[in-house]
């Protein structure tokens, strides 16, 4: 059919639909909500998964992280003076760095359970004692000053680097560099501050909330001043803990070897540890898991959206069948005046598609607004991928075609004589 006449058919369809404004509007609602829910749900799902993925990536997708985990206490151990001895050991660290194939740098980390104070301001960040290489492996970036150096390490220097959050809290007014903070009972000179760790898409709303309160000191300094045995204050009770290393970050050479290294680490740890006082965190595995979860999520959303579009489509078909019956006479007139069956099919199909596409367009608009509302009130990140509105729009047009075929076919196959006689 020529473009001009198709355009005329579309105009005719619109004016026929406008004869029954309320009915047309109500009919589009099904597709409208179907389409908008497709977009809104995709946006929310995408947002959630992007947030999860960003968090995982912060751990470093090419790293394998070993962590000390306090084993589950048995019932007799509730005495306050008991010393819990558990976790990764220096020998674990040495075994990993000496014998594991495909391993780059291996970083031992200790955590110090001390309060950090500056004048009257105090807070409880994670105080991590780590070697200089920690920064490269975990991808932290220095904002001002410098990071821990080998020299600090050798000299067992009392220096520290503050994460952005700590720096801002302890030094609300003055510049932190060169000042001192008190970690437990000792004074440390601040030599550097870190950039806030943000999500990769820094333009996305909610970015910049990923900072964590952390204070870094040289590993050797931590070993020397705080030892392995520490007292941990926890909900009113004191606990003695003896842990050699809290974390070992293994940097893997190639992404492909991550699963091998992870398996080797699990194997090694299970051989040397009698109890499960460790965990192996593999961000890559979590990433894959997150992707799998996202796929399932999308599948569920997809089914819900298809059902609502199906219902919307059936609604449209229902109304179009009624319209065809109501306009039997018009069909008869048009046939008498020379309309072929395909003209009638086109006319009603175009009308159905105008309905569903109208609903689809409004649905796209609503679908773009809903995520903004969700983001504003529910504080959930949402991401609208450009393909979502296009996809939703195409689906709504498809619904129109699929559910318009039968009414249009019915209209086209009426006997012209009967149709003309119809009151």
């Amino acid at each position: 059919m020529k473009r001009a006449s198709l355009w005329r058919t579309v105009r005719l369809g619109v004016s026929s639909l406008l004869l029954h404004k309320l009915r047309s509007a109500l009919t589009t609602l099904g597709v409208l909500f179907g389409t908008s829910s497709v977009i809104a749900m995709l946006a929310i799902g995408e947002g959630a998964s992007e947030k999860a993925q960003a968090e995982i990536r912060l751990l470093g997708s090419q790293n394998v992280i070993l962590r000390s985990v306090k084993p589950r206490e048995d019932f007799a151990s509730n005495q306050q003076t008991r010393v819990n001895s558990y976790g990764l050991t220096d020998s674990d660290y040495e075994r990993v760095s000496a014998t594991f194939p495909g391993v780059g740098r291996v970083v031992p980390v200790r955590e110090i359970y001390e309060e950090v104070r500056r004048g009257s301001r105090a807070m409880n960040p994670r105080v991590l004692a780590c070697p200089p290489v920690y920064r490269d492996v975990t991808g932290r970036q220095v904002l001002e000053g410098r990071w821990i150096t080998d020299q600090d390490e050798r000299g067992i220097a009392n220096v520290c680097v503050l994460s952005d959050e700590v720096a801002r809290y302890l030094f609300p007014v003055e510049a932190p560099l060169g000042q001192t903070v008190k970690v437990g009972a000792d004074y440390y000179t601040v030599v550097g501050t870190l950039m806030p760790r943000t999500r990769q898409r820094s333009d996305a709303p909610g970015a910049g909330e990923q900072t964590q309160a952390e204070v870094f000191i040289p590993l050797e300094t931590g070993r020397k001043w705080y030892g392995n045995l520490q007292v941990k204050m926890r909900s009113g009770s004191r606990e003695m803990e003896e842990v050699e290393l809290h974390e070992v970050v293994i940097e893997v050479d190639q992404p492909d070897s991550v699963p091998t290294v992870a398996a080797a680490a699990r194997e090694m740890l299970s051989r040397y540890h009698t109890q499960k006082d460790y965990e192996v965190v593999v961000p890559l595995e979590q990433l894959l898991l997150a992707e799998k979860t996202k796929r399932i999520f999308n599948l569920v959303l997809g089914s819900i959206a298809s059902i609502s579009l199906l219902v919307g489509g059936i609604g449209i078909m229902n109304v179009m069948l009624a319209t065809v019956t109501e306009r039997t006479r018009e069909i008869g007139i048009r046939r008498a005046l020379g309309a072929k069956r395909r003209h009638i099919v086109t006319q009603f199909l175009v009308e159905t598609v105008v309905l569903s596409v109208g609903g689809g367009l409004l649905g796209v608009a609503l679908g773009l607004i809903v995520p903004l509302i969700v983001e504003h009130f529910a504080d959930m990140p949402t991401v609208i991928t450009p393909s979502a509105p296009i996809l939703a729009f195409l689906i709504s047009a498809g619904v129109g075609v699929v559910f318009g075929i039968y009414p249009a076919w019915r209209a086209a196959n009426m006997d012209p004589v009967e149709a003309l006689r119809h009151e």
């Binding site: 004016s15 007139i333 072929k340 395909r342 012209p416």
Partner: protein, 238 residues
């Protein structure tokens, strides 16, 4: 029977029967019916209800096909044509005027007149001009933008006549075209038909009103699907 008018044959029925089955009974709405309509003739078809005049009109209009026999429009046999080809014949060769005007409510006057051209495979380029001229001619040149609901019955029928003329048809079929109109308006419409006849158009007007039939040039009376009588009206000069 058909007289020996010298004009070109526009529509020709050859032993046409139309048989309806009502359960086991067989109704022959047209029974071995043969007739010829020639260019420029103005026929009134009369008959009581059930005489077969509607069936004849449907077959003449290519809306229905004969069960037996052959119907030719300007020499084209229609019995073998499929639905699309029949639609083509309707859009090129035929013009319809109905009792209840049958304008399309969502279209304005101009658009209604243009409908038959819209369905032609190769519509004339000057279609819209032609439609405007025809609207002028039936006296509705100033109401092109009006919807059918904004017009009186007589005006609607004028639009329908303009629509029936827009494709310059070989045959104009009018089905009780004055049936819904008051007598004054009916006379106006009949005068319009007279004009068309004077211009040489071929018109078949189905009616049950003797007054209306009297305006035609010739009258064909049907009974039980067969020709009862054929006669020529003596023209009374006004």
């Amino acid at each position: 029977m058909a007289d020996t008018h010298s004009g070109e044959i526009v529509a020709e029925l050859e032993h046409v029967s139309r048989v309806y089955r009502m359960g086991s009974a067989e109704v022959r709405a047209l029974d071995d019916f043969s007739f010829v309509f020639k260019r420029g003739e103005y026929w009134a078809v009369m008959g009581s209800s059930g005489s077969g005049k509607s069936t004849l009109l449907n077959i003449l209009g290519c809306l229905d096909r004969p069960s037996e026999g052959q119907y030719r429009v300007r020499g084209t046999p229609t019995s073998q044509l499929d639905d699309d080809a029949l639609s083509d014949v309707r859009s090129r060769e035929l013009g319809f005027v109905f009792q209840s005007y049958n304008l399309i409510p969502q279209l304005d006057v101009l658009e209604n007149i243009l409908v038959p051209l819209f369905y032609q495979d190769d519509p004339p380029a000057d279609g819209e001009q032609r439609a405007r001229r025809l609207a002028d001619r039936v006296g509705l040149g100033k109401r092109l933008e009006h919807r059918p609901t904004e017009l009186s019955g007589g005006q609607q029928q004028r639009v329908a006549i303009a629509r029936a003329l827009v494709n310059d048809p070989a045959l104009i079929l009018a089905d009780e075209a004055t049936g819904n109109l008051d007598s004054q308006t009916a006379l106006e419409i009949l005068a319009l038909f007279d004009e068309l006849h004077a211009e040489g158009k071929t018109i078949v007007l189905v009616t049950h009103e003797p007054d209306v039939a009297a305006r035609a040039e010739r009258v064909l009376r049907l009974k039980d699907g067969k020709i009862e009588s054929v006669y020529e009206n003596r023209k009374v000069q006004a």
